[in-house]
Amino acid sequence: MNFYNRRKALKLGTSALALLSAANPAVALVKITVSGGDFTPLPIAIPDFASSDAAFGKELSDIVRFNLNRSGLFRIIDPDSLPLKIGNISQAPDFPKWQASGADALVMGEVEKNINVQGSVRVWDTQAAEQIVGKSYSTDANNYRRIGHQISDAIYQSLTGEGGYFDSKIVFVAESGPKANRTKRLAIMDYDGANLQYITSGKYAALTPRYSNDARFITYINLADGRPQIFIIDLITGRQQSLGNFGQMTFSPRFSPDGKTILFSVEQGGTTNLYSMLIGTNRPKQLTSGAAIDTGGSYSPDGTKIVFESDRGGSQQLYIMSANGGGAQRISFGKGSYSTPVWSPKGDLIAYTKQSEGQFHIGTMKPDGSRERVLASSFHMEGPSWAPNGRVIMFFSDPGGNDGPSLYTIDIWGRNMQRISTPTFASDPAWSPLLS
């Protein structure tokens, strides 16, 4: 198989698998499989990036190698076995040598760190002997790892045909202390766990954070004294404001895709309904009514619909309604209960938490409820959040007892589950949009 076709196969794999494999995994996988019932990661050569500071060049190329390897779609060829130890972006590669090294794709980079960090990268198709990507980047020196993520996104995008997700942030709940009296504070970090920063003090439990569409704002709830309240933090000014008090408790806040509206839940007298409010107006609009618990809403990417969980039928199930309320249709019909639905940024899937037979599961289904697919199961896991490209899901899993939760990622094909390293227990991850 020549490289061009393999590249096509990888592209086909990432899109076609999603459509076909849920219905019939064996048939779908065969088309792109070389062996082993799984698609073969694309072999890619990434020599250390050229730099006047060799250690810096190596550090940035390590970030790129780590990202691509972690995605599960690439196989990084051992840098020591490559024809060149340090990349050279100023001349065309000696393609036969790179073909002989087993690489289908080759990445050459150059980075320099001054007041800013500058980076240039070229990605080559070694079989077709042609350049696929040529790009240059510049960023603040304090934030130099971003260049590594941006380069990774460019490579991922050109070779898979999907958007990238490496240049992104995660907001989550950092948990520490004994379970019965645990400190829960919000923290932000790069998608890979680097550059961790706490953004609430931990005096009060802060839960269920979500990013706005421009990654400038975070909304979350503060469980100060058992009466949850919604807050919005401006990450640039550091200021935060309360959304306001409606009913006894307000919780489960989510930004609309345009960032202008907050969807949330209001509890009054034991019943919980969904509301939305244009930020700054103080005029909430009631979207659901009745004695059920309606919560955990999530907008479709075009902002016209909302998927939410409700126990109106006796157990927690997923429903879709108009973003203005009304016309709710149940979409989950499998065995068990369903909660925390999140609409993929691509619009093609809804991820959720499912409970059945004493276990928790993370799964996906199409917005019409078809092609339900469980991706991961354990004693306790919940809170899925989509990567900006809609092809990876982050969630948290907790072994129970006095132990605590950790963050994990898994791809939408149910492969490549990996833990994200955090200094404390961690829950409620929410992925930011792509930053660039």
Partner: protein
Amino acid sequence: MSLSNLIVKLFKGMAIIGLLLFVAACARTPTNNPEGSGAPGSQQEFLVTIGDRVFFETDSSVITKTGQETLDRQAAWLNRYPNYKIIIEGHADERGTREYNIALGARRAAAVVNYLISRGVSANRISSKSYGKERPVAVCNNMSCWSQNRRAVTVIQ
């Protein structure tokens, strides 16, 4: 007996002892405390003699028969000592998702509020809260322990 069997037995023994210790710790709810009943009309009396909490079945906010008995005692006591205000704190166990459990805790608290009102306690003496699953009293990996956490606690002010 082989060494591995011995080790298994040892572990089982330890696990059972651990469990017993744990259940003992979990069972340390004020209703079961025979001592220190406190002066009539004191918060201590309410905690120890009347019982400050009711428990729920999994994913339910229905007041059980035992719960009704506890709340009947609470209502009688509160009607006798009308100066106290109370807060009902609803809680859920860890076998549910975070946001649903906040709503479920609120629904349990509301069930208790409504029951006490139906027994003559004035609505303006009562407020309610929910901590969802964020404040467990018992921590372990089995049902006896989760059942301790599915609770509504009446806090005297």
